[in-house]
Amino acid sequence: MTVDLSVDLGRGLRLANPVGLASGTAGFGFELEQLIDLGAVGALYTKGTTRHPRAGNAPPRVAETAGGMLNSIGLQNPGVEHVAAAYAPHFARWGCAVIANIAGAEVDEYVDCVRILERAEGVDGYELNISCPNIAHGLDLGRDPDQAARVTAAVRRVTERCLVVKLSPNVTDIGAIAVAAESAGADAVSAVNTYVGMKIHRHAQRPVLPGAGTGGLSGPAIKPLALAAVAAVRRAVSIPVIAAGGITDTGDAVDFLVAGADAVQVGTATFTDPSAAVRIVSGLHDHLAAAGLTRATELRWH
C-alpha cells in the first residue's frame, strides 16, 4: 500500500503533491530556487502580477503581531508583460507546477493578464487574486458573489488552463463567493487570503502601516479562522479547495486536509524557515504511511 500524494486540480493539471508555496511569499521562484529544492513542492503560486508594473506601497510594509504578521506590499510587481517575457521562460526549471497569481481592479485587467500569459510556456495555471486587501478596490471583486462570478467567467472564456479563484476571508459568507466562482467556471478555489488587520505605533499614536493603516494578517494567528473558512468552502463547492492560513508544519497541513482541503499553501512560514514547505511534503508522506492511508483526502472529516 503506497502513498499517492498527487492532486488533480482539473484541466489536466496534476500536482505531484498537495503542498504549494503561497503567492507573495515565494516571489517568482528566483530567490527560493537558490535556497530549497523547488522540485520537491507541488506548486509555486507566483507573486501577484498586474496588467501594468506597480511600484508598491510606501514603507513600512510589514509589521509583526502576536503569532502573525501584517503586510501592505501593494502588489509591487514588474507587470504581466515582463513576467511573461522575462520570468516565465525560467519556470520550467523549477520542476514544480507554476501557477500565476493575477490581480487587478477591473475585470479587463484580469482578462488582459491571462491573455498575455497564455502565450507563455511554463505557466501551468492561474490563481485569480480577487481578494488583495492592499490596493484600492482590491477587495470589491472578492466581496460580492456577482462580481466574483463576473471576473471568473470573463477569464474562463480566454483560457483552457487550470483556473483557481482565491477567496477573501473578509466576507460575511465565503461559501457564497466560492459557489459563484465554481458556477462561473473555476476549476478550484483557494482560501484564504489575508485578513484585514492593523497595528498601532503606540507612541506615535497612529498605525504602523501607511495610508489607511491596515494590512493583511497572515501566520499562525489566523489558522483557526482559515480552518473554519476552508470547512465552509468545502461544504459549499465540489471542486478542489486549496487551503492557506498559518500552515507552519506537517500537523497544520494535516488539520487543513481534515477540514476539507485538497491541497495546501505554505506562506508566512517560509519567511522564518525557507524549507518549511519541502519538509511538510515528506512529513505528509510519513503521516499518511503511519496512518495506513494512501491518499491525503482520506484524512477528511466527514
Binding site: G24, T25, A26, G27, F28, F30, E31, L32, Q34, L35, K47, A55, G56, N57, A58, P59, P60, R61, V62, A63, E64, A66, G67, G68, M69, N71, I73, Q76, A86, Y87, K199, H201, R202, H203, A204, R206, V208, P210, G219, P220, A221, T248, T268, T270, F271, T272, D273, P274, S275
Partner: protein
C-alpha cells in the same frame, strides 16, 4: 530576479561567548562554520528569536566579526526579539539564516577610509575594517552615541590593529567630544577616498549632505541601511527603501537584496526621512 543567495544556509550553532559591553549592548559569538567562512563585510544574518510563534519573524543582524568557525553579532535589547537574543548564554543554541544581502564593495579603490558609526551602527565595522586594513587602507573611525556607556568599545573596531584611529563623540559629552558624529566627520572627510556609514537614518542623511558638500568627492561612499524585514531574502518585498531610480525619479529598492549596503548617492534621503519609523518601542 535577484541572485547572490547561493551561499545562504539555515545554520544552527552553539553560543560560545557573550560579552557584555555596557548599556545592555552585547557581542554574541556563535559557532557557525558556514556563516563564518562565507560572510562578507556588511552582510547580515536573519536570527531566530526563541523557538515559539511570538516573536514570529527572524530579526536581521550584521555579521560583526568572524574568526575560525565563530561568527559574532553585536546587539542590544530594544524589543521583544533582541531581549531574547541579549539574554542568550554560552551553551545555548542559535539559528541563523545567512549570509544575506549586498555588503560593502569588496575591493576598495581607496587609500584612506573614514568609517562613521552611530550607536549600534558599529556592528558591521569590525569586519569591514579588517578587510580594509588587509588591503592596506588607512582607517579612521568616527564613533558616536548618546552617552558613554552606549559607545562601542574603541578597541573592538580595530581588534588589535593600532594603526586604526578612533574618534569618539557623545551627545551628552560623557566621553570624547560633545556632539553628533557628523560634527567630526567634516574635518576627517578631507583626503578620505572612501566613506562608510552605519547608524540611525538622520545621522546617515546628515553624512550624505556632508559628503555632498565636501571639497573633494570620495571615490566610494556607502551606507548600511535598515528596514523591517519579513524574509530577508527577497521574496516578501517588505523591506522597500526609497532610492533614485534609473530614470532619476524615485523608486523602491529592497534593503535585503539591493542592500543593506547602498551607494550613499543612490538613496533618496529626503523621502527616507519623511517615512514613519518602523520601530515600535
Amino acid at each position: 530576479m535577484s541572485g547572490g543567495l547561493d551561499e545562504v544556509r539555515d545554520e544552527r550553532g552553539e553560543v560560545v561567548s557573550v560579552d557584555h559591553l555596557g548599556g545592555g549592548m552585547v557581542e554574541i559569538g556563535v559557532r557557525m562554520p558556514h556563516l563564518a567562512a562565507t560572510a562578507r563585510p556588511g552582510q547580515f544574518a536573519q536570527l531566530r528569536c526563541g523557538t515559539g510563534i511570538d516573536p514570529l519573524l527572524r530579526r536581521p543582524f550584521s555579521v560583526a566579526w568572524t574568526g575560525g568557525e565563530v561568527a559574532a553579532f553585536v546587539l542590544a535589547p530594544v524589543g521583544a526579539g533582541t531581549r531574547i537574543l541579549a539574554s542568550l548564554r554560552p551553551g545555548d543554541s542559535l539559528n541563523a539564516l545567512g549570509p544575506l544581502g549586498a555588503g560593502f564593495t569588496a575591493e576598495t579603490p581607496a587609500t584612506r577610509a573614514l568609517c562613521v558609526s552611530g550607536g549600534l551602527g558599529c556592528a558591521p565595522f569590525p569586519l569591514l575594517i579588517r578587510s580594509l586594513r588587509r588591503q592596506g587602507v588607512e582607517v579612521t573611525v568616527v564613533s558616536g552615541a548618546a552617552t558613554a556607556e552606549l559607545l562601542y568599545p574603541p578597541e573592538r573596531f580595530a581588534r588589535g590593529d593600532d594603526s586604526v584611529a578612533v574618534v569618539e563623540l557623545t551627545v551628552d559629552g560623557s566621553r570624547g567630544r560633545r556632539g553628533l558624529v557628523t560634527a567630526a566627520v567634516a574635518e576627517h572627510l578631507d583626503g578620505a577616498t572612501a566613506v562608510y556609514g552605519c547608524g540611525p537614518n538622520p545621522m546617515l542623511a546628515a553624512l550624505a549632505r556632508t559628503v555632498e558638500l565636501g571639497a573633494t568627492r570620495p571615490l566610494l561612499a556607502e551606507v548600511s541601511l535598515e528596514a523591517p524585514m519579513g524574509c530577508g531574502f527577497g521574496t516578501c518585498l517588505g523591506c522597500a527603501l526609497p532610492v533614485h531610480g534609473a530614470d532619476g525619479d524615485s523608486a523602491w529598492a529592497l534593503c535585503c537584496t539591493a542592500g543593506p549596503v547602498m551607494p550613499i548617492r543612490s538613496v533618496a534621503w529626503e523621502e527616507l526621512m519623511t517615512l514613519p519609523a518602523a520601530h515600535v518601542a
